[in-house]
């Protein structure tokens, strides 16, 4: 038993991948990850957290988000508590 879905007409996947509509749906995932990481007890780590948005061009262009901390502080916190890994799990990723 299964289902088949057919899209009629021409779809430009590039436009979909970089569309504001899709970005608005997906950006809350990055926000969820960031919010979970901000609950870490290390203040320096939390202060160094940033969320960056990237838009790439070309046929395979897309919107993506990068959430991270200062590299050295981030590695120490990750080794001790796995904050980023658990934040990704909380977001269902």
């Amino acid at each position: 038993m299964g289902a088949k879905v057919t899209f009629n007409g021409s779809l430009d996947i590039t436009k979909i991948a970089k569309s504001k509509a899709l970005a608005d749906e997906l950006e809350p995932l990055a926000d969820t990850v960031l919010a979970a990481m901000e609950r870490d007890p290390n203040e320096a780590y939390v202060e160094s957290l940033v969320k960056k948005t990237f838009v790439s061009s070309g046929r395979r262009g897309r919107i993506s988000w990068q959430v991270g901390a200062h590299p050295v502080i981030g590695a120490r916190v990750e080794a001790k508590r796995g904050t980023a890994a658990r934040a990704l799990g909380e977001a269902g990723l």
Binding site: R76, A79, G82, A85, R86, G89
Partner: protein, 146 residues
């Protein structure tokens, strides 16, 4: 009507800890080696801890992220503990990349590291300071019908 049967997922921690202990021993790191889920009360010259950071369950697969901390002294005269520590960690990563057998671990992927971690107070065993490294990976565990 239920299309997708609920699944139950087995533990994977024990298999990973055992694989590290056996694999690192086979690669010559047996002297003073402890591989456990938490740091031992009595520190040894080579220690490995495995932390399960868990993750989402998706139908019949459970995505689990793990963090592995490793501490190592220098075993070769003249070498720094950092050199040996990195080799120790790289061997640990290599061991784990081959343990997926389908039951219950379907896949081991997204290995990242090893990163050198500077401890606030380094562990000292046998008069030698231990180098600390960390790596992470993702493990896909297969569930069975509930």
């Amino acid at each position: 009507m239920t299309f997708i049967a609920p699944s139950k997922f087995p533990s994977s921690d024990g298999k990973i800890v055992t694989a590290l202990r056996v694999g690192l021993t086979a690669r010559g790191w047996s002297a003073g080696l402890t591989a456990t889920r938490t740091l031992p009360a009595t520190k040894t010259r080579r220690m490995v801890t495995v932390r399960n950071d868990s993750g989402p369950q998706q139908v019949s697969r459970s995505v689990r992220r793990y963090g592995v901390n490793l501490w190592c002294d220098n075993s070769v005269a003249g070498e720094s503990p950092t050199v040996d520590g990195e080799k120790f960690a790289l061997d640990g990563m290599s061991v784990l990349q081959t343990i997926a057998d389908g039951r219950p671990i379907a896949r081991m992927y997204e290995f990242s590291g090893p990163y050198e971690i500077e401890d606030d107070v380094p562990y000292i065993v046998g008069g030698k300071s231990l180098a600390h490294f960390y790596f992470s990976f993702t493990c896909l565990v297969r569930g069975t019908s509930n």
